[in-house]
Assembly symmetry: C2
């Protein structure tokens, strides 16, 4: 795990706002709130826009799954060095409540790491704290710059 | 299951191009290719744009999960009447190969239906037929217009 002094590299540069967010993260309106690499936790915000809704005006679960994916990746990245990256191998989502467009909070937590394999859980909540969807995932730590899944 | 004569209602109107795609589907570049409601299968296309990529230029798995979600929903909807809709309860995705922006093909198949609960599987492939990601999901059939997960 990293100390604050080790928060270097492209991930932290983007999270600090010193470089643009990656396009996918920007599309989901990702904003960094907080991370505790020692505890393996992260808190992010997303913006569900009117581009993400179904015919009833609710946010399609597709984009909730996307936000949970983009909570889990950063949760792992926050614990890695600048020469490491991560590849998400699987993502299992449960959709709990209907969601209206707006600001959503993603929280991730590393449950276990064994070698290069990391088990992560995440939740997505509205601004009142109601949990809307939850996910678990398996990620693999890989060298930075390797083309991965 | 429906005969072709029963292909009425808002789902088929959008799939035929007689009404705009729902916003979420449009964001993912969803295009209807074919469906066989008797067999419980569907084939759709999506467009992974540069808005969906990670820092390496690969399509973030977040958006592959979103496309698989939006293959599974239509797969179920294609088998329903115009007064029915569906709610996806869970989505389990395996990410198999790195993905570059472009046109992707989503294929869905209903594995089992027991009452209002439907088990669906889906895959996402590139234009060469290489399978990039696969998913399974549980969906619930609900009345059209009900606010659901």
């Amino acid at each position: 795990m990293l100390s604050d002094n080790d928060r270097s590299g492209p991930f932290w540069t983007a999270m600090r706002g010193d470089a643009p967010m990656p396009p996918a993260a920007a599309t989901l309106g990702l904003e960094f709130i907080d991370a505790d690499p020692e505890a393996g936790t992260i808190e992010l915000a997303f913006t569900a826009t009117d581009d993400f809704v179904n015919p009833m005006g609710n946010v399609l679960g597709a984009f909730l799954a996307a936000m949970l994916y983009d909570t889990i990746g950063p949760c792992v990245l926050a614990t890695l060095g600048p020469d490491e990256f991560q590849s998400t191998l699987d993502l299992n989502v449960n959709f709990l409540e209907p969601v209206v467009p707006g600001r959503l909070i993603g929280r991730g937590r590393i449950v276990h790491r064994n070698g290069d394999i990391v088990r992560v859980e995440a939740s997505l909540a509205d601004s009142q704290g109601t949990v809307l969807a939850v996910a678990t995932a398996t990620a693999k730590v890989i060298p930075f710059g390797v083309t991965a899944v």
